[in-house]
């Protein structure tokens, strides 16, 4: 605000009052006028100060608003980053585990549940012997492609990868709230069958790349009550399962034939109508009081098991090359190969009769 004109007028009146000899009638009025001028000068100073303070307040307000905007932008940026990270986390974790992490249910030292689960162990037969002569780079490539394939299958079937132990994989099913336990167990065994099929393809691919050796996995599956929860220290927790039934699954895996799947009687009870198995007798397992019935998985009943070796299309079929070895071929492989050959013959016969 410009006070110069106002100031000038006050000055003129003041000078007049100072220099002119006032008539007695004006003396009182002149004194009053001087007081007024003094008040007005004080008021003017006060007004100027208020304007300065107002300008500072405006500046403070603008600075605070701009600061708040910067913080909001940063918050939005960080939110976007969190969304991106949680999206990545979703890809790495099974759905059930992801939901529990996001809902804050996986508190460290939180409650541990007793739950009926189906546990799968698998490892590569004679891994140490097979890898003894391999360069570390080659070994790393093989292990990564093996774990990538297996982890992809576990996620596909909805299992929880508990851990990788060297060349072994530990997986469990049944921790999802409200899931049908029979179906979860079937999924576990179907996963095992697909893991064996995948291993056949990997072995073929590795052989084509010049990697010799009889690369096979064996799988053990057991069903029973386990303790489920987060175990470990404050800094490093594992969402895992412990208990005698877990150890039993691991021991079944060691007893399984190369390329085969050995399941316990408790698992067999739940899958027998869908999975064809051969009884392998009762065994005594450390930590389990009663002998455990064992069964070797042959194939999924009424499945398109031949697809492991045969790809069909409208134009015909593609029969994959097979290196068959009487000594090492597993029951699953034999069953799948037999079905693939039968199906190929059937297609050829149908083609003959059509023409």
């Amino acid at each position: 605000m410009d006070y110069s004109e106002f100031d000038q007028e006050i000055g003129i009146v003041s000078d007049l009052l100072e220099t002119q000899a006032p008539l007695s009638a004006f003396e009182e009025g002149a004194r009053w006028m001087k007081q007024m001028i003094s008040h007005m000068r004080n008021l003017k100073q006060l007004l100027e100060q208020t304007h300065r303070e107002l300008a500072d307040l405006r500046l403070m307000h603008e600075s605070t608003i701009e600061h708040a905007t910067e913080i909001e932008n940063e918050l939005e940026h960080k939110n976007a980053r969190i969304t991106e990270l949680t999206y990545r986390l979703r890809k790495y974790l099974p759905e059930a585990l992801y939901d529990q992490v996001m809902d804050g249910q996986l508190e460290s030292g939180g409650p541990h549940l007793r739950k009926r689960l189906t546990i799968l162990f698998s490892d590569i037969v004679e891994f140490t012997t097979l890898t003894d002569h391999l360069e570390p780079e080659m070994l790393s490539e093989i292990l990564n492609s093996y774990f990538d394939s297996m982890a992809g299958l576990v996620n596909k079937w909805g299992g929880v990868i508990d851990k990788f132990i060297g060349d072994a994989v530990m997986v469990f099913f049944g921790d999802k709230a409200g899931s049908d336990f029979k179906i979860e167990t079937e999924k576990c065994v179907l996963l095992a069958i697909e893991m064996q099929q995948q291993m056949t393809l990997l072995r073929q691919r590795w052989a084509d790349d010049g990697l010799l050796g009889d690369w096979r996995i064996r799988i053990g599956i057991n069903t029973g009550y386990c303790t489920l929860g987060s175990f470990g220290s404050e800094k490093r927790m594992d969402y895992t399962i412990i208990g005698g039934q877990v150890n039993a699954a691991s021991r079944l895996e060691h007893m399984a034939p190369p390329g085969g799947i050995l399941i316990s009687g408790s698992t067999h009870l739940l899958v027998a109508d869908r999975i064809e198995c051969l009884p392998r007798g009762a065994v005594t397992l450390k930590g389990i009081h009663q002998p455990v019935d064992t069964f070797e998985v042959v194939r999924e009943r009424d499945s398109a098991a031949h697809r492991a070796f045969l790809d069909e299309s409208e134009r015909g079929f593609h029969l994959r090359s097979v290196r068959f070895d009487h000594a090492t071929a597993s029951r699953i492989e034999r069953a799948e190969l037999r079905l693939a050959c039968q199906r190929a013959l059937q297609i050829l016969q149908e083609t003959e009769s059509d023409s």
Partner: protein, 114 residues
């Protein structure tokens, strides 16, 4: 001389004429920032000519905090013969803009962004 909270600290070293802000400052309201404001005022009166303020470790400052810094900038106008050098960082997004705004209050503040 220092003020410490759960996840922040404001420390004044009289020998090096330096105040270091660090952590996350999210005190509620101007009155909670009074102690920090008082420390700034005391520090600028103690130094012989230049007070240095290091903000590079201050990850977050809420609106009440920036208001208190503005008030300190206004206070500086009345302090004779002193200047303040604030060091901020471009890696913390809010600092470039908000610390630069302090220069609008007084020419006794110099800002260095690293």
């Amino acid at each position: 001389m220092s003020i410490k909270g759960d996840n922040y600290s404001v420390e004044f070293n009289g020998t090096s004429n330096l105040i270091v802000f660090s952590g996350v400052l999210r005190l509620q309201g101007k009155e909670h920032y009074q102690a920090i404001y008082d420390l700034l005022v005391k520090a600028v009166n103690e130094v012989s000519s230049t007070l240095k303020i290091d903000m590079t470790k201050l990850e977050f400052l809420n609106s009440s905090g920036i208001s208190s810094l503005c008030l300190f900038a206004i206070y500086l106008r009345s302090v004779v013969g002193k200047r303040v050098i604030i060091t901020g960082t471009t890696t913390i997004a809010w600092q470039a803009k908000s610390l630069a705004n302090l220069l609008k209050f007084t020419d006794k503040i110099e800002l260095k962004l690293i």
